[in-house]
Each structure stands twice: as structure tokens, then as C-alpha cells.
Amino acid sequence: MAHENELNFKATELRLGLPGTEISAAKNNNKRASPEENGSKCVISSVKSSTENETAPEPKAQIVGWPPVRSYRKNNIIQTKKTENETGIYVKVSMDGAPYLRKIDLKVYNGYQELLKALETMFKFTIGEYSEREGYKGSEYAPAYEDKDGDLMLVGDVPWNMFMSSCKRLRIMKGSEARGLGCGV
């Protein structure tokens, strides 16, 4: 078929928006799509999940003054966004005996319970019951982490937020070494 040999102009066309989307036709001719005064870009990032259904709003070019937020607020939210750790707290997770390490984002979890459950699923093992006195009883594994000072610590002793800020990497220990760590003397 002849048209298959044609240069696919549509595919190579430079335009705004995610690949595969069409910019929806303006509701009326009046809609302006000029970039904002403070120089923001028109492209919507590709973070939007591709699993969004058809009725979800299509990414649009920026409309002046929409959403209607005061410029002062816009400028100051950007500022603080820079300092906010938007990127997750990624730490390496090693398991004794496993061929390779994994990486997880601590920010995704609301507390120790969720974290441990995720680790159990990821490495297909069970962690025992935590108690302050005796560490993790009931399995041969103990979750440990390396803190800011380089010390190997048992997961669960300190408040979650403190853990998040001091944890540098996780290590799931196995066997006698684990028992040694988990034993509360």
C-alpha cells in the first residue's frame, strides 16, 4: 500500500504533549494557550501514568492564569519544592545469600509494618515478631540497617521518622549472625 511508504509526518511532528496524545481542540476560539509570564514551560512531563483511562483529562498546554493561583503563591511553592525531597529515599537492600541486591524507597512506607511486609514479599521469607527485649523471634532472619555512623543496627528500635533519616542501607541477616544481633542482652 502506497500510504505505508509515506513519511509518517504525524509521528515525527514536533508538538506539545505526551507521545500518542492529541491536544484537544479549544472549546472556543478564545482559549489562549500562551506560556505563563514567569517562563514556565508548556510541556507536561511524562510522569503521568500511561494506565490512565480515556476519560482522564488530557495534558494541555499551559493556559495563562489557570489554575487561578496568585503569582505570589506560585513563586513561593516552587521555591520550597526545590528543597523538599521529592525524590524518594532509596536504600540498597541486601539479603545474606542472595545473588544480587535490591533497592527500595523508604518514603513509600508508612511505618515498620509496611516496610517489613514489603521486604518479606520481595525476598520471599518471613521475619519474626518484634519485641524490644528480644528483637525478632520466630525466624532465622533479622532485618538490620547501617546507620549514619556506619553501625549495624536492628530495625525497629527507633521511631520511624528517625529511622528514615538515619538509614543508609538495609541488610537482611540470616542464621547465627542474625541471632546474635537480635538477641537482647
Binding site: K27, I44, V47, G65, W66, Y72, K74
Partner: protein, 579 residues
Amino acid sequence: MCLFQCMMNYFPEEVLDHVFDFLSSHRDRNAVSLVCKSWYSVERFSREKVFIGNCYAVNPERVLARFPRIRSLTLKGKPHFADFNLVPHDWGGHVYPWIEAMAKNGINLEELRLKRMVVSDESLELLAKSFPNFKSLVLVSCEGFTTDGLAAIASNCRYLRELDLQENDVDDRKGQWLSCFPESCTSLVSLNFACLKGEVNMAALERLVARCRNLRSLRLNHAVPLDSLQKILVQAPQLTDLGTGSYVHEPDSETYIKLKNAIQKCTSIRSLSGFLDVHVQCLPAIYPICTNLTSLNLSYAPGIYSNELMKLISHCMKIERLWILDTIGDTGLGVVASTCKELQELRVFPSDLYGVGNAAVTEEGLVAISAGCPKLNSILYFCQQMTNAALITVAKNCPNFIRFRLCTLNPTIPDAVTNLPLDEGFGAIVKSCKGLKRLSVSGLLTDQVFLYIGMYAEHLEMLSIAFAGDSDKGMLYVLNGCKKLKKLEIRDSPFGNVALLADIGKYETMRSLWMSSCEVTYGACKSLAEKMPRLNVEIINEGDQIEASPDARQRVEKMYLYRTLVGPRRDAPDYVWTL
């Protein structure tokens, strides 16, 4: 003539004067001044606080002639849509002529409150030097001044009680303005410099706080670190309103422990804001004061993510006013709904302004709030999506809304479930909320929603419309139906000349009308201006959109009209034409 009227006529003016002293609202005073000549006369000499909603509706000379005993002036300048970059910066709204006139007339000015006005350093200097009893300066969303102007205020206003700077665009000259408060200044009750970007001298700030024993409200800027906050709180445990600066520190440190102790002593704090930069591990320090808070503004704290936010809010049972970011999520709003039974005003601002795709709130959060918070009467809600069903439920749960502003991030998004316009949902709101004074609509909307608004929104005073409606009928429904309408602002909607010209007398009953990217033409605007000499019809003509002698049929990009007693203003820039 009724008996009461007769009796009032026999009262000497001193008695009337004394009675009018009890009238603080300018609306009441305006009403009273219309009763008869004698009441007008007594009232005008007794009025000390004057409110002017549009600085171009009148001029300084007329105001001072009518109210010679004025002590407090409130002025508003630019139209509301200026907040969203729709009005060029030098459009107008200068305060200088007002200050100049008051200085010349020997007015004993004590208070000046400005919103969306251009304030130059020169004006601030003149202000500082002309009024020896000046006590209170409140600037909201203003621009044009630098910290040099603030230095003049600090240096010269010996009895200054209030310096409140809210969301202004200030050029920070890093000139130590705060150090200009003399050692003899002990009168400050309220100091808010949260919007300033530069550093202030910490030692000077700490000393200032220490000597102002009546200080009740203090809002710091980003440059004030946590250890200074701690020292300040030790000096000022009597604070009722606190805005933290940067809230970042090691949670294990001695400073943090000292801060915890200092905060615990601040048992009078009822209003909290700030957290412009925050380490969430330091938040527990404020839990003890959360139980007493009635007002909480975390809308500039994107660093407090959802879980921490929920934990914090679960302590705030007495909150009446809550401003947050949509990072709170629908779940977080559920926590608000179950905790904050005293909630009256809620504002949920968007955290994601550039469509990066962060989670926002949906109709679920709004419904939860409406179900859980029986006292809710004012809402500003930026959301990802909305449904008619949700709005109908909200209308049923909360018939007491005075302000209802809904903003869908996609301005023309339909009902998320049915794909229909949101007409029925907003219709339910206006039908149920008989006291509604302010409404902003968004989402996919046809003329039908305006039919409902015209029919039911009897007390509506301000209406904001964007990307809505199908034809002139929509705008006509509103103009014909909303008898108390004062401010109407419309953008990107297909309303044109027929609607604009149908009832031109209506505009003299309103403060202003804004129409941008609509269908009105130059000819219609000119015709309106010619027929109504007491309206200023301004065309804002940026970028040479209209040539010198434009065609009558040419569409006008931006039109702003307002009633005025003093004709076209003389300070309009080149591209603003008053027809």
C-alpha cells in the same frame, strides 16, 4: 411619619453622633447616611473608617471632603483577575495620590489598608513622615516597594502597632530595615514579614520582640532559623498568632529541646502558619499547642507530606480555619472531617502547578468534609475532578455556605462519572445555600448553570466564570437574576454584545465587570461607554491588538468596566483606553 421617625428628628445631633458610634460596618453607615440630610451630615462627620472597594470609583479630594475626620482608609486597586497575570503590571492602582492628599489636608491618619495596589517607596516615606499618630499598615498583594520603604516606616512611625505584609511582591534591598525600629519602639502588637525574601538582623529582631510586651502576632520569613524562633518564643510566650520561618533542625539537638519547652509555654497561640521549609521530625514540638488552634495555614509547606499532615491535624480539634495543600489527599480530608468539628473555612490549594501528575484531591474529599463538618460555610477547593452527585450531596449537607469556590485543575472537565456538564451540581449548591455571597464555578458548564444561578442565588455578590457557557443567554440569566451582584468576572466564555448591552443600567448597581477572551466587540464597548457617563469602560490593549482606529466589529481581548463618580482616570498607561 412614624413615631420613631418623629422622635429621632427631635434628638440633637450629639445624640445621633453617639448612636452612630456603635455602627462599625461601612454598609450600615452607608445605609444610615441615606435616611435624610441631617443623618447624612452627622454620619459623615462621625465616620472614622472609610472603605473604598475600587480606588478609581472616587478620588481622594471627594473622600476627604465628605469624611474630614477620617482616621482609617481601606483601598482596593487592581481587579481580582490581576492575581492570575491577566492584568499588566503597570495598569494602575497607585496609592501615592491618596497619601499626598491626606498629608496636604492635615488628616490624622492612623491606619492604611491596601489590597492590589501599587505602593512606591516614595509613598511609604511620605506616609511615615506625614502622620505622627500612624499606627497600622496592612498591605495585601501589593507591589512597587522595597525594604527601603519599610525602613522609613520603621524609623519614623513612633507609635506603630501593626505592620502586616501579606503576599506582597517586595524587592529586598538587604538593608537591615528591621534594625530601623528604634530602641524606643515598644508599641508593636502585630508584625508580619513572611513574604520578604531577605535576611533580617536576628539580634535586632530578638531585641524588638523582647521590648514589645504587647506583641500578639508575629509571622517570620524564610530567613529566620529555628534557633532564633526558639529564642523569640522564650521572649514572647504571650503570642496569639505565630508564623514560623524556616522550621529545620536536627531533632536530637539541644536547640530543639529548648524549642519544645518554649512552645509549651505559649499557651495563647490560636493561629499558626509558616513552615516554609520543614523537617517533619521537628513537628511533634508543636503538638501541644495544636489542641488550642483555631486557625492553621500549612498551604506554604509542601514539605509536610500526607502522613505527617494527618498526624498533625488529628491534634487540632478546635480548628475553625484550615488552609492546606492538596497533598493532603482525600484520605487526609477524611481525617479533617472526623477531627475538625468546628471547621468553618477550608482552603485546599494545588501543589502541582505544572501538571507533573502528583496526586490531588477529588470529589470524595469534599463530600467527606461536608458530611463531617456541620459549621462549614466557606470553601476554596482545587481538585482533580468533580461529579454532580458529589456536589448535590455537599449542597444537602452544607446549606450554610457563604463562599463556595470550586476550581477543577482542568477548567472544562465534565462529571468524572457521567461525563455530563456540572450544571446540576452547581445548581444544587445555589438552590440549597440561600445565603451564598460568593461563587466560583469551573468544569464543563453550559448556559443551564447560569439559569440556576440567576434563579436561586439571590444574595450573590461576586461571581467568577471561566471557560463556561454556550451563548449570551448564560450571562443574561445572571445579570437579570442576581439582584445583589456587585462583582462579575468572566474569562474565555462565549458571551458577547447582546448580553453586554441588554441592561446597561445594571452596571451602575455593581462595583465592576471584567470580561476577557469573550465575544464582546469594540463597537459595543464604545456604545456602552457613550450611553453611561458614570461608568469607566476600559479596554486593555496589549501587544497592539487593536490599531489606532479599530473596527467596531473587532473583538476586545480585555475589558474592565466600573462605576465611578469621577470620570476617566488620568493615570492609565498607553495601552489602557477608557472609551
